[in-house]
Amino acid sequence: MTLFLLRRLAFILPQLFVVIVGTFVLLRALDVDPVSKIAGSFATPETTAQVEASLGLDRSLGAQLQSYLGGLVQGDLGESWTTNEPVTSEIAKRFPVTIQLIGLGFGIAVLLAIPLGRSSAANPTRRREKITTVYALFAGAQPDFWWGLIFAFVFFFKLGWLPAPLGILNTGVSGPSGPTNFILIDTLVHGEFDLFLSALKHFVLPVMTMTFVLTGPILKIMRQAALDVHESEYVLYANAAGFSGKVTKKMITRNSFAPVLTVIGILFGFSLGGAVLIETVFSLNGIGRYALQSTLNVDFPAIQGAVIVMTAFSLLIYLTMDTAYALLDPRVRYSRV
């Protein structure tokens, strides 16, 4: 197992490195001029040169990359060109918002889709199969940002059950500071239950939106995987040999999980960036919107920081998925690189 993990790490770290260098070079290769954006269009040549030097853009690409990587190994992502704050601390505030949104969205989607998919495969009546297929196809093909707006219209404007889509807490209310920046944890740590409930209510609609679109693909792959295992020869054998239903059920669960994990991993990686849409609808200050705003501001260090953190996190998720995969299926441990 240790060897398996080491091999995977040896594969992931170079990928992260390529993404870091790739983003760095890509930003400087694209046809965009941060200097004139920051110095303003009426800047004199002297001011322009001054700004260029202060951003470090007057140096060669190699020298810029070298000093950036030097900072990075110490956990320093540089300073934002728009706010002059350290990117690391800005991201530390933004990233937990996205993680709470995606974490809850995925958690609930998995809890709903897996039993539904399994029971629809275990007991396939025509009607039930049809409903599952249509629902999975439909939910997987939806514009999440639009559903977010629809949910806000129904549950906030029409029914008034949930707060307006304007952030994580009521306007003008500020949350506790630290220690984790996860508002759902920090409010509990500080014993502020009213704030906790308020934040939870603000999360309901965005999480519901995310859950809705995620249940589609997860349900579909779960149903397919369970069906494949049901029809496999080893389940036929287990049944013929007279194993109890409980044993076969465990067998099916265990063996149908692998493709589900793969799909969840891929969806997670995409959602990390894709969450910007839901964050925009509900004015959540997550990392997706941070990346978007930084892009509009041509703020290179902030963009790089956001991309690196998202990549590192999704690679970590892939590693976790692979490990779970290997734990579930002993064959993987010895064969795959």
């Binding site: 965009v32 910007v276 991309v307 990549t311 999704s314």
Partner: protein
Amino acid sequence: MSAGAHSDPPALEHAPADAAFEEALRPASFSAHVRETLRSSWLFRLGLGIVLIALFLTVFGPYITPHEVEKATSDANLAPSLSHWFGTDPNGFDVFSRVLASARIDVTIALAATLFSFVIGTFIGLLTSYFRGWPGEFVMRTTDTVQAFPLFVLAIIVVVMSGRSLRNVILVVALLNIPIYLRLCRSQVLTIRERVFVEAAKANGGSGLFVAFRHVLPNTLSPGLAQIPITVGFAILVTAGLSFIGAGVQPPTPEWGAMIAAGADGIVIGKWWSSVFPGVAISLTVFGFAVVGEALRAIFLRQEWK
């Protein structure tokens, strides 16, 4: 779309061992299977109907609008009525006209991007998988690394910084989808290249490239072709998403995602129509393409699709 691959089944004289596969290549039986699925499945009929309407609007949408599409009027935020079926948006645009005209932009971007990624992905997949050696390994590692990027954010960065033109949106959406076709093609080629009919073609003196394109390629296309409608749907979602956050097609060009954004502020004060109708258009269109893709996949695999 698939007609090309099926009307001219090449190399059947070197009959593949797999009977099901051979049958899948025969034109009559393919269309018979489509007809059979059309007859038995209302879902497929529905999906195909939606796709045909979307394609019709892509071609004719901008010509059949009751109002001018890019002319702002002072009639802003009017509720749906007889003269404005879907109401008007905050700029005074007629929502119904713009929903019809948007298909031209969204579906064209999606089709062009999908075609582009299908051709490039299949081409690279074929060449690097048919011929053994380091290029295959290199391309797969590169694909893995590209997929490690937060792709939607990468799309935002590239489109915003290189200019929000139609061409750039198409290229970025295509780039996002190349890995799918590369993988699909590769997994097919790796098994097909070991088959007897490929060996026979080589023994007949066919050069490497000739065998790859004439004998291997036609037999690897089905999964990629079935994936096309699904990718078109996904590409519409990405295009609309990018435009929704202002990183894609720019107003006043009629585009569903940008239209939803224009009405987004109104929806929480009860003016729902300018966001709801373009969203319904996206929702139905993407669903239609997804259904057709699923049905096609089953048809290519010779499975029944209910």
